[in-house]
Amino acid sequence: MRALAALFRRELRLSNRAGGGGAMGVVFFLILVTITPFAIGPDLNLLARIGPAILWIAALLSTLLGLDRLFMSDHEDGSLDLLEMSDAPMELVVLVKCLAHWAVTGLPLVVATPLFGLMLALEGDALWGVAASLAAGTPALTFIGAIGAALTVSLRRGGLLMAILVLPFTVPVLIFGVSAASAASGGTVPFLTPFLILCALSLGSMALAPFAAAAALRSGD
Protein backbone atom coordinates (compact mmCIF):
# COMPACT_ATOMS: atom_id res chain seq x y z
CA MET A 1 0.00 0.00 0.00
CA ARG A 2 2.81 2.40 0.90
CA ALA A 3 4.61 1.48 -2.28
CA LEU A 4 1.50 2.33 -4.28
CA ALA A 5 1.11 5.67 -2.52
CA ALA A 6 4.75 6.40 -3.27
CA LEU A 7 4.16 5.49 -6.90
CA PHE A 8 1.18 7.86 -7.01
CA ARG A 9 3.28 10.71 -5.63
CA ARG A 10 6.09 9.90 -8.04
CA GLU A 11 3.74 10.12 -11.01
CA LEU A 12 2.39 13.48 -9.87
CA ARG A 13 5.88 14.85 -9.31
CA LEU A 14 7.18 13.60 -12.65
CA SER A 15 4.32 15.16 -14.54
CA ASN A 16 5.01 18.56 -12.97
CA ARG A 17 8.69 18.61 -13.74
CA ALA A 18 10.52 19.36 -16.95
CA GLY A 19 9.50 16.96 -19.69
CA GLY A 20 6.32 15.98 -17.87
CA GLY A 21 3.95 18.09 -19.89
CA GLY A 22 0.99 17.79 -17.54
CA ALA A 23 -0.49 21.13 -18.58
CA MET A 24 -0.27 20.40 -22.29
CA GLY A 25 -3.62 18.61 -22.32
CA VAL A 26 -5.50 21.69 -21.11
CA VAL A 27 -3.78 23.91 -23.67
CA PHE A 28 -4.71 21.44 -26.42
CA PHE A 29 -8.27 21.39 -25.06
CA LEU A 30 -8.40 25.18 -25.23
CA ILE A 31 -7.07 25.19 -28.79
CA LEU A 32 -9.65 22.64 -29.92
CA VAL A 33 -12.45 24.68 -28.35
CA THR A 34 -11.05 27.80 -30.00
CA ILE A 35 -10.76 26.47 -33.53
CA THR A 36 -14.22 24.89 -33.62
CA PRO A 37 -16.11 28.21 -33.93
CA PHE A 38 -13.81 29.09 -36.82
CA ALA A 39 -14.85 25.92 -38.57
CA ILE A 40 -18.61 26.14 -37.98
CA GLY A 41 -19.06 29.88 -37.67
CA PRO A 42 -19.58 32.09 -34.60
CA ASP A 43 -23.37 31.62 -34.38
CA LEU A 44 -23.95 31.60 -30.61
CA ASN A 45 -27.23 29.68 -30.74
CA LEU A 46 -25.66 26.90 -32.76
CA LEU A 47 -22.60 26.86 -30.50
CA ALA A 48 -24.77 26.64 -27.39
CA ARG A 49 -26.63 23.68 -28.91
CA ILE A 50 -23.56 21.68 -29.92
CA GLY A 51 -21.32 23.05 -27.15
CA PRO A 52 -21.49 19.93 -24.94
CA ALA A 53 -20.54 17.76 -27.91
CA ILE A 54 -17.60 20.02 -28.79
CA LEU A 55 -16.34 19.95 -25.23
CA TRP A 56 -16.65 16.17 -25.09
CA ILE A 57 -14.80 15.61 -28.36
CA ALA A 58 -12.11 18.06 -27.26
CA ALA A 59 -11.78 16.21 -23.95
CA LEU A 60 -11.61 12.87 -25.76
CA LEU A 61 -8.85 14.03 -28.10
CA SER A 62 -6.78 15.74 -25.43
CA THR A 63 -7.04 12.67 -23.18
CA LEU A 64 -5.87 10.57 -26.10
CA LEU A 65 -2.97 12.93 -26.74
CA GLY A 66 -1.59 12.48 -23.25
CA LEU A 67 -2.01 8.72 -23.13
CA ASP A 68 1.17 7.75 -24.95
CA ARG A 69 3.13 9.15 -22.00
CA LEU A 70 1.35 6.82 -19.60
CA PHE A 71 3.76 3.90 -19.98
CA MET A 72 6.15 5.07 -22.71
CA SER A 73 8.70 7.03 -20.66
CA ASP A 74 8.79 4.35 -17.95
CA HIS A 75 9.31 1.75 -20.63
CA GLU A 76 12.14 3.74 -22.19
CA ASP A 77 14.15 4.32 -19.01
CA GLY A 78 13.51 0.83 -17.65
CA SER A 79 11.50 1.78 -14.57
CA LEU A 80 8.57 -0.21 -15.93
CA ASP A 81 10.66 -3.37 -15.61
CA LEU A 82 11.44 -2.45 -12.00
CA LEU A 83 7.74 -1.91 -11.31
CA GLU A 84 7.02 -5.30 -12.81
CA MET A 85 9.60 -6.93 -10.57
CA SER A 86 8.27 -5.25 -7.44
CA ASP A 87 5.97 -6.99 -4.97
CA ALA A 88 2.96 -4.92 -5.98
CA PRO A 89 0.82 -6.70 -8.57
CA MET A 90 1.02 -5.15 -12.02
CA GLU A 91 -2.74 -4.61 -12.10
CA LEU A 92 -2.58 -2.32 -9.08
CA VAL A 93 0.44 -0.51 -10.50
CA VAL A 94 -1.54 0.16 -13.68
CA LEU A 95 -4.53 1.30 -11.62
CA VAL A 96 -2.42 3.75 -9.62
CA LYS A 97 -0.65 5.04 -12.71
CA CYS A 98 -3.99 5.61 -14.41
CA LEU A 99 -5.43 7.42 -11.41
CA ALA A 100 -2.38 9.66 -11.22
CA HIS A 101 -2.53 10.24 -14.96
CA TRP A 102 -6.19 11.19 -14.70
CA ALA A 103 -5.41 13.54 -11.81
CA VAL A 104 -2.93 15.47 -13.94
CA THR A 105 -4.68 15.29 -17.33
CA GLY A 106 -8.38 14.61 -16.79
CA LEU A 107 -9.03 16.65 -13.67
CA PRO A 108 -7.66 19.94 -15.12
CA LEU A 109 -9.99 19.45 -18.09
CA VAL A 110 -12.97 19.14 -15.75
CA VAL A 111 -11.87 22.24 -13.85
CA ALA A 112 -11.37 24.20 -17.05
CA THR A 113 -14.66 23.10 -18.61
CA PRO A 114 -16.94 25.73 -17.02
CA LEU A 115 -14.60 28.45 -18.30
CA PHE A 116 -14.38 27.03 -21.81
CA GLY A 117 -18.12 26.37 -21.79
CA LEU A 118 -18.66 30.12 -21.43
CA MET A 119 -16.77 30.62 -24.68
CA LEU A 120 -19.27 28.29 -26.35
CA ALA A 121 -22.21 30.26 -24.98
CA LEU A 122 -23.28 27.57 -22.52
CA GLU A 123 -25.21 28.79 -19.51
CA GLY A 124 -25.87 27.77 -15.92
CA ASP A 125 -27.22 24.26 -15.88
CA ALA A 126 -25.59 23.25 -19.15
CA LEU A 127 -22.23 24.41 -17.85
CA TRP A 128 -22.41 22.34 -14.70
CA GLY A 129 -23.91 19.43 -16.63
CA VAL A 130 -20.93 19.26 -18.97
CA ALA A 131 -18.46 19.60 -16.12
CA ALA A 132 -20.20 16.88 -14.11
CA SER A 133 -20.43 14.53 -17.09
CA LEU A 134 -16.74 15.07 -17.87
CA ALA A 135 -15.82 14.46 -14.24
CA ALA A 136 -17.74 11.19 -14.32
CA GLY A 137 -16.69 10.13 -17.82
CA THR A 138 -13.03 11.05 -18.32
CA PRO A 139 -11.78 8.32 -15.93
CA ALA A 140 -13.35 5.79 -18.32
CA LEU A 141 -11.46 7.39 -21.21
CA THR A 142 -8.18 7.14 -19.30
CA PHE A 143 -8.73 3.52 -18.31
CA ILE A 144 -9.86 2.39 -21.76
CA GLY A 145 -6.96 4.32 -23.22
CA ALA A 146 -4.54 2.60 -20.85
CA ILE A 147 -5.22 -0.68 -22.69
CA GLY A 148 -4.21 0.91 -25.97
CA ALA A 149 -1.20 2.59 -24.36
CA ALA A 150 -0.06 -0.75 -22.91
CA LEU A 151 -0.51 -2.57 -26.22
CA THR A 152 1.55 -0.03 -28.15
CA VAL A 153 4.16 0.71 -25.50
CA SER A 154 7.04 -1.07 -27.21
CA LEU A 155 6.31 0.36 -30.66
CA ARG A 156 8.40 3.30 -31.71
CA ARG A 157 5.58 5.15 -33.43
CA GLY A 158 2.50 3.82 -31.70
CA GLY A 159 0.59 7.09 -31.33
CA LEU A 160 -1.62 6.80 -34.38
CA LEU A 161 -2.12 3.07 -33.90
CA MET A 162 -3.17 3.70 -30.31
CA ALA A 163 -5.80 6.19 -31.47
CA ILE A 164 -7.15 3.65 -33.96
CA LEU A 165 -7.29 0.95 -31.29
CA VAL A 166 -8.79 3.06 -28.52
CA LEU A 167 -11.30 5.33 -30.22
CA PRO A 168 -13.88 2.65 -31.19
CA PHE A 169 -14.13 1.63 -27.55
CA THR A 170 -14.79 5.16 -26.37
CA VAL A 171 -18.03 5.38 -28.36
CA PRO A 172 -20.32 4.37 -25.43
CA VAL A 173 -18.63 6.86 -23.10
CA LEU A 174 -19.10 9.60 -25.68
CA ILE A 175 -22.76 8.68 -26.26
CA PHE A 176 -23.73 8.75 -22.61
CA GLY A 177 -21.44 11.67 -21.78
CA VAL A 178 -22.96 13.92 -24.42
CA SER A 179 -26.49 12.78 -23.63
CA ALA A 180 -25.97 13.53 -19.92
CA ALA A 181 -24.50 16.92 -20.77
CA SER A 182 -27.36 17.74 -23.13
CA ALA A 183 -29.95 16.47 -20.65
CA ALA A 184 -28.67 18.95 -18.08
CA SER A 185 -29.57 21.87 -20.33
CA GLY A 186 -33.13 20.64 -20.76
CA GLY A 187 -34.52 17.80 -22.77
CA THR A 188 -36.77 14.81 -22.54
CA VAL A 189 -34.30 12.54 -20.73
CA PRO A 190 -33.71 13.15 -17.01
CA PHE A 191 -30.08 14.05 -16.30
CA LEU A 192 -29.54 11.23 -13.84
CA THR A 193 -30.23 8.32 -16.24
CA PRO A 194 -27.32 8.80 -18.66
CA PHE A 195 -25.17 10.22 -15.86
CA LEU A 196 -25.45 7.07 -13.76
CA ILE A 197 -24.67 4.90 -16.80
CA LEU A 198 -21.62 7.08 -17.35
CA CYS A 199 -20.53 6.51 -13.75
CA ALA A 200 -21.05 2.78 -14.28
CA LEU A 201 -18.87 2.86 -17.40
CA SER A 202 -16.11 4.60 -15.46
CA LEU A 203 -16.28 2.22 -12.52
CA GLY A 204 -16.51 -0.83 -14.79
CA SER A 205 -13.52 0.21 -16.87
CA MET A 206 -11.63 1.02 -13.68
CA ALA A 207 -12.27 -2.52 -12.46
CA LEU A 208 -11.53 -4.36 -15.72
CA ALA A 209 -9.08 -2.32 -17.80
CA PRO A 210 -6.10 -2.69 -15.41
CA PHE A 211 -6.21 -6.48 -15.99
CA ALA A 212 -6.12 -6.09 -19.75
CA ALA A 213 -3.46 -3.37 -19.62
CA ALA A 214 -1.29 -5.36 -17.21
CA ALA A 215 -1.58 -8.44 -19.42
CA ALA A 216 -0.60 -6.34 -22.41
CA LEU A 217 2.42 -4.91 -20.58
CA ARG A 218 3.55 -8.40 -19.53
CA SER A 219 3.15 -9.76 -23.04
CA GLY A 220 5.29 -6.90 -24.35
CA ASP A 221 8.56 -8.27 -23.01
Partner: protein, 252 residues
Protein backbone atom coordinates in the same frame (compact mmCIF):
# COMPACT_ATOMS: atom_id res chain seq x y z
CA UNK B 1 -7.33 -33.01 -29.87
CA UNK B 2 -3.63 -32.36 -29.33
CA UNK B 3 -2.85 -34.44 -32.36
CA UNK B 4 -4.95 -32.16 -34.59
CA UNK B 5 -3.29 -29.12 -33.09
CA UNK B 6 0.13 -30.18 -34.37
CA UNK B 7 0.84 -27.80 -37.29
CA UNK B 8 2.28 -30.52 -39.50
CA UNK B 9 -0.69 -32.78 -38.93
CA UNK B 10 -2.98 -29.79 -39.43
CA UNK B 11 -1.39 -29.06 -42.81
CA UNK B 12 -1.82 -32.68 -43.92
CA UNK B 13 -5.40 -32.93 -42.68
CA UNK B 14 -6.54 -29.66 -44.22
CA UNK B 15 -4.86 -30.52 -47.51
CA UNK B 16 -7.05 -33.63 -47.65
CA UNK B 17 -10.25 -31.92 -46.49
CA UNK B 18 -10.06 -28.59 -48.30
CA UNK B 19 -10.99 -29.76 -51.85
CA UNK B 20 -14.16 -31.35 -50.45
CA UNK B 21 -14.98 -28.23 -48.45
CA UNK B 22 -14.45 -26.04 -51.51
CA UNK B 23 -16.72 -28.30 -53.51
CA UNK B 24 -19.40 -28.18 -50.84
CA UNK B 25 -19.09 -24.39 -50.54
CA UNK B 26 -19.34 -23.97 -54.32
CA UNK B 27 -22.37 -26.24 -54.61
CA UNK B 28 -24.19 -24.66 -51.66
CA UNK B 29 -23.46 -21.13 -52.81
CA UNK B 30 -24.52 -22.02 -56.36
CA UNK B 31 -27.76 -23.56 -55.11
CA UNK B 32 -28.29 -20.62 -52.76
CA UNK B 33 -27.79 -18.04 -55.51
CA UNK B 34 -30.14 -19.99 -57.81
CA UNK B 35 -32.78 -20.04 -55.06
CA UNK B 36 -32.15 -16.37 -54.34
CA UNK B 37 -32.71 -15.20 -57.88
CA UNK B 38 -35.05 -17.81 -59.34
CA UNK B 39 -37.00 -19.55 -56.58
CA UNK B 40 -37.53 -17.03 -53.79
CA UNK B 41 -40.53 -14.75 -54.36
CA UNK B 42 -40.32 -10.98 -54.47
CA UNK B 43 -41.62 -9.28 -51.36
CA UNK B 44 -45.08 -7.73 -51.58
CA UNK B 45 -43.77 -4.51 -50.10
CA UNK B 46 -40.10 -4.39 -50.96
CA UNK B 47 -40.30 -5.92 -54.42
CA UNK B 48 -37.09 -7.33 -55.89
CA UNK B 49 -34.81 -5.47 -53.48
CA UNK B 50 -35.58 -8.08 -50.83
CA UNK B 51 -33.07 -10.32 -52.63
CA UNK B 52 -30.31 -8.18 -51.12
CA UNK B 53 -31.23 -9.88 -47.84
CA UNK B 54 -29.78 -13.21 -49.01
CA UNK B 55 -26.33 -11.62 -49.17
CA UNK B 56 -26.72 -9.09 -46.39
CA UNK B 57 -27.93 -11.35 -43.59
CA UNK B 58 -25.36 -14.17 -44.06
CA UNK B 59 -22.59 -11.55 -44.25
CA UNK B 60 -23.86 -10.01 -41.01
CA UNK B 61 -23.97 -13.39 -39.28
CA UNK B 62 -20.48 -14.23 -40.47
CA UNK B 63 -19.09 -10.86 -39.40
CA UNK B 64 -20.00 -11.87 -35.85
CA UNK B 65 -19.08 -15.53 -36.33
CA UNK B 66 -15.59 -14.50 -37.45
CA UNK B 67 -15.21 -12.44 -34.30
CA UNK B 68 -16.32 -15.41 -32.20
CA UNK B 69 -13.74 -17.61 -33.92
CA UNK B 70 -11.15 -14.93 -33.25
CA UNK B 71 -12.16 -14.74 -29.59
CA UNK B 72 -11.84 -18.50 -29.10
CA UNK B 73 -8.47 -18.43 -30.84
CA UNK B 74 -7.43 -15.51 -28.63
CA UNK B 75 -8.19 -17.69 -25.59
CA UNK B 76 -6.08 -20.40 -27.21
CA UNK B 77 -3.25 -17.91 -27.60
CA UNK B 78 -3.39 -16.54 -24.08
CA UNK B 79 -4.11 -19.76 -22.20
CA UNK B 80 -2.26 -22.44 -24.18
CA UNK B 81 0.14 -20.25 -26.19
CA UNK B 82 -0.56 -22.39 -29.18
CA UNK B 83 0.92 -21.25 -32.53
CA UNK B 84 -2.09 -22.61 -34.41
CA UNK B 85 -4.37 -20.35 -32.35
CA UNK B 86 -2.16 -17.38 -33.26
CA UNK B 87 -2.44 -18.21 -36.92
CA UNK B 88 -6.19 -18.70 -36.63
CA UNK B 89 -6.60 -15.28 -34.99
CA UNK B 90 -4.52 -13.59 -37.61
CA UNK B 91 -6.35 -15.32 -40.45
CA UNK B 92 -9.82 -14.50 -39.14
CA UNK B 93 -9.31 -10.73 -38.81
CA UNK B 94 -9.21 -9.75 -42.52
CA UNK B 95 -11.99 -12.25 -43.29
CA UNK B 96 -14.18 -10.76 -40.58
CA UNK B 97 -13.42 -7.27 -41.82
CA UNK B 98 -14.35 -8.38 -45.34
CA UNK B 99 -17.70 -9.86 -44.32
CA UNK B 100 -18.46 -6.80 -42.16
CA UNK B 101 -17.69 -4.60 -45.15
CA UNK B 102 -20.02 -6.64 -47.38
CA UNK B 103 -22.70 -6.40 -44.69
CA UNK B 104 -22.34 -2.62 -44.44
CA UNK B 105 -22.30 -2.06 -48.20
CA UNK B 106 -25.27 -4.32 -48.99
CA UNK B 107 -27.15 -2.82 -46.04
CA UNK B 108 -26.49 0.64 -47.40
CA UNK B 109 -27.64 -0.39 -50.90
CA UNK B 110 -30.75 -1.91 -49.36
CA UNK B 111 -31.38 1.10 -47.16
CA UNK B 112 -31.49 3.58 -50.02
CA UNK B 113 -34.66 2.21 -51.69
CA UNK B 114 -36.30 1.08 -48.43
CA UNK B 115 -35.51 3.81 -45.90
CA UNK B 116 -34.68 6.53 -48.42
CA UNK B 117 -31.15 7.03 -47.13
CA UNK B 118 -27.77 5.38 -47.55
CA UNK B 119 -26.92 5.58 -43.89
CA UNK B 120 -28.62 6.37 -40.59
CA UNK B 121 -27.02 6.54 -37.16
CA UNK B 122 -29.13 3.70 -35.92
CA UNK B 123 -27.91 1.53 -33.03
CA UNK B 124 -27.46 -1.61 -35.17
CA UNK B 125 -25.67 0.19 -37.99
CA UNK B 126 -23.44 2.09 -35.61
CA UNK B 127 -22.44 -0.97 -33.60
CA UNK B 128 -21.60 -2.90 -36.79
CA UNK B 129 -19.53 0.06 -37.95
CA UNK B 130 -17.69 -0.06 -34.63
CA UNK B 131 -17.10 -3.79 -35.21
CA UNK B 132 -15.60 -2.91 -38.59
CA UNK B 133 -13.33 -0.32 -36.93
CA UNK B 134 -12.23 -2.88 -34.34
CA UNK B 135 -11.35 -5.31 -37.13
CA UNK B 136 -9.32 -2.58 -38.85
CA UNK B 137 -7.57 -1.76 -35.59
CA UNK B 138 -6.68 -5.42 -35.08
CA UNK B 139 -5.32 -5.70 -38.61
CA UNK B 140 -3.26 -2.54 -38.01
CA UNK B 141 -1.93 -4.07 -34.79
CA UNK B 142 -0.96 -7.29 -36.60
CA UNK B 143 0.81 -5.27 -39.28
CA UNK B 144 2.65 -3.01 -36.86
CA UNK B 145 4.17 -5.51 -34.44
CA UNK B 146 6.90 -7.32 -36.25
CA UNK B 147 7.38 -10.33 -34.02
CA UNK B 148 4.52 -12.85 -34.52
CA UNK B 149 4.41 -14.06 -30.91
CA UNK B 150 4.14 -10.58 -29.45
CA UNK B 151 1.64 -9.53 -32.09
CA UNK B 152 -0.53 -12.56 -31.33
CA UNK B 153 -0.67 -11.82 -27.62
CA UNK B 154 -1.36 -8.11 -28.13
CA UNK B 155 -4.10 -8.88 -30.67
CA UNK B 156 -5.59 -11.50 -28.34
CA UNK B 157 -5.93 -8.99 -25.51
CA UNK B 158 -7.54 -6.44 -27.79
CA UNK B 159 -9.86 -9.10 -29.24
CA UNK B 160 -11.05 -10.08 -25.77
CA UNK B 161 -11.67 -6.44 -24.90
CA UNK B 162 -13.66 -6.02 -28.10
CA UNK B 163 -15.99 -8.91 -27.33
CA UNK B 164 -18.24 -6.48 -25.43
CA UNK B 165 -19.40 -5.22 -28.81
CA UNK B 166 -20.83 -8.55 -29.98
CA UNK B 167 -23.81 -8.75 -27.57
CA UNK B 168 -24.38 -5.04 -28.18
CA UNK B 169 -24.73 -5.73 -31.91
CA UNK B 170 -26.97 -8.73 -31.35
CA UNK B 171 -29.35 -7.01 -28.96
CA UNK B 172 -29.10 -3.45 -30.28
CA UNK B 173 -32.35 -3.89 -32.19
CA UNK B 174 -34.15 -5.03 -29.05
CA UNK B 175 -32.68 -2.50 -26.62
CA UNK B 176 -33.09 0.53 -28.85
CA UNK B 177 -36.18 0.78 -30.97
CA UNK B 178 -34.77 2.14 -34.17
CA UNK B 179 -34.98 1.90 -37.93
CA UNK B 180 -33.28 -1.46 -38.36
CA UNK B 181 -35.82 -4.25 -38.00
CA UNK B 182 -35.56 -6.64 -35.04
CA UNK B 183 -34.31 -10.22 -35.38
CA UNK B 184 -36.66 -12.35 -37.46
CA UNK B 185 -34.83 -15.68 -37.81
CA UNK B 186 -33.01 -16.39 -34.55
CA UNK B 187 -35.64 -15.36 -32.06
CA UNK B 188 -37.85 -16.77 -29.34
CA UNK B 189 -40.92 -18.44 -30.79
CA UNK B 190 -39.43 -19.46 -34.12
CA UNK B 191 -38.62 -17.55 -37.30
CA UNK B 192 -41.03 -14.80 -38.32
CA UNK B 193 -40.20 -15.21 -41.98
CA UNK B 194 -42.03 -17.24 -44.59
CA UNK B 195 -40.46 -20.64 -45.49
CA UNK B 196 -40.14 -19.67 -49.17
CA UNK B 197 -37.74 -16.95 -48.08
CA UNK B 198 -36.28 -18.73 -45.07
CA UNK B 199 -34.90 -21.70 -47.05
CA UNK B 200 -32.87 -19.69 -49.58
CA UNK B 201 -31.57 -17.61 -46.68
CA UNK B 202 -30.48 -20.67 -44.72
CA UNK B 203 -28.83 -22.23 -47.79
CA UNK B 204 -26.99 -18.97 -48.48
CA UNK B 205 -25.94 -18.77 -44.82
CA UNK B 206 -24.59 -22.33 -44.97
CA UNK B 207 -22.78 -21.59 -48.23
CA UNK B 208 -21.24 -18.40 -46.85
CA UNK B 209 -20.17 -20.23 -43.68
CA UNK B 210 -18.50 -22.96 -45.74
CA UNK B 211 -16.77 -20.26 -47.78
CA UNK B 212 -15.55 -18.68 -44.56
CA UNK B 213 -14.25 -22.01 -43.25
CA UNK B 214 -12.39 -22.69 -46.52
CA UNK B 215 -10.82 -19.24 -46.64
CA UNK B 216 -9.97 -19.39 -42.96
CA UNK B 217 -8.28 -22.79 -43.21
CA UNK B 218 -6.33 -21.69 -46.28
CA UNK B 219 -5.22 -18.50 -44.56
CA UNK B 220 -4.06 -20.51 -41.52
CA UNK B 221 -2.10 -22.81 -43.83
CA UNK B 222 -0.47 -19.82 -45.49
CA UNK B 223 0.40 -18.34 -42.11
CA UNK B 224 2.01 -21.57 -40.92
CA UNK B 225 4.06 -21.77 -44.11
CA UNK B 226 4.97 -18.08 -43.87
CA UNK B 227 6.23 -18.59 -40.34
CA UNK B 228 8.30 -21.61 -41.36
CA UNK B 229 9.77 -19.60 -44.21
CA UNK B 230 10.60 -16.78 -41.83
CA UNK B 231 12.30 -19.19 -39.44
CA UNK B 232 14.21 -20.86 -42.27
CA UNK B 233 15.40 -17.55 -43.66
CA UNK B 234 16.64 -16.60 -40.18
CA UNK B 235 18.51 -19.88 -39.93
CA UNK B 236 19.95 -19.40 -43.39
CA UNK B 237 21.05 -15.86 -42.55
CA UNK B 238 22.63 -17.11 -39.34
CA UNK B 239 24.47 -19.87 -41.16
CA UNK B 240 25.69 -17.44 -43.79
CA UNK B 241 26.82 -15.11 -41.02
CA UNK B 242 28.88 -17.83 -39.39
CA UNK B 243 30.24 -18.96 -42.72
CA UNK B 244 31.53 -15.51 -43.56
CA UNK B 245 33.13 -14.87 -40.21
CA UNK B 246 36.88 -15.42 -40.19
CA UNK B 247 37.70 -18.31 -37.87
CA UNK B 248 39.00 -16.90 -34.60
CA UNK B 249 41.39 -19.74 -33.80
CA UNK B 250 43.19 -19.49 -37.12
CA UNK B 251 44.92 -16.26 -36.24
CA UNK B 252 45.68 -17.15 -32.65
Amino acid sequence: MLKYANPTYFLRLTAAVLPWLWGAAGLTLGLGLYMTFAVAPADYQQGETVRIMYIHVPAAWLSMFAYTVMTLSALGTLVWRHPLADASQQAAAPLGAGFTFICLVTGSLWGKPMWGTWWVWDARLTSVLVLFLIYLGLIALWNTIEEPLKAARAAAILTLVGVVNIPIIKFSVDWWNTLHQPASVLRMGGPAIHPTMLWPLLVMALGASLLFVCLHLMAIRNEILRRRLRRLSYLAAEAADHGLEPPVEAGA
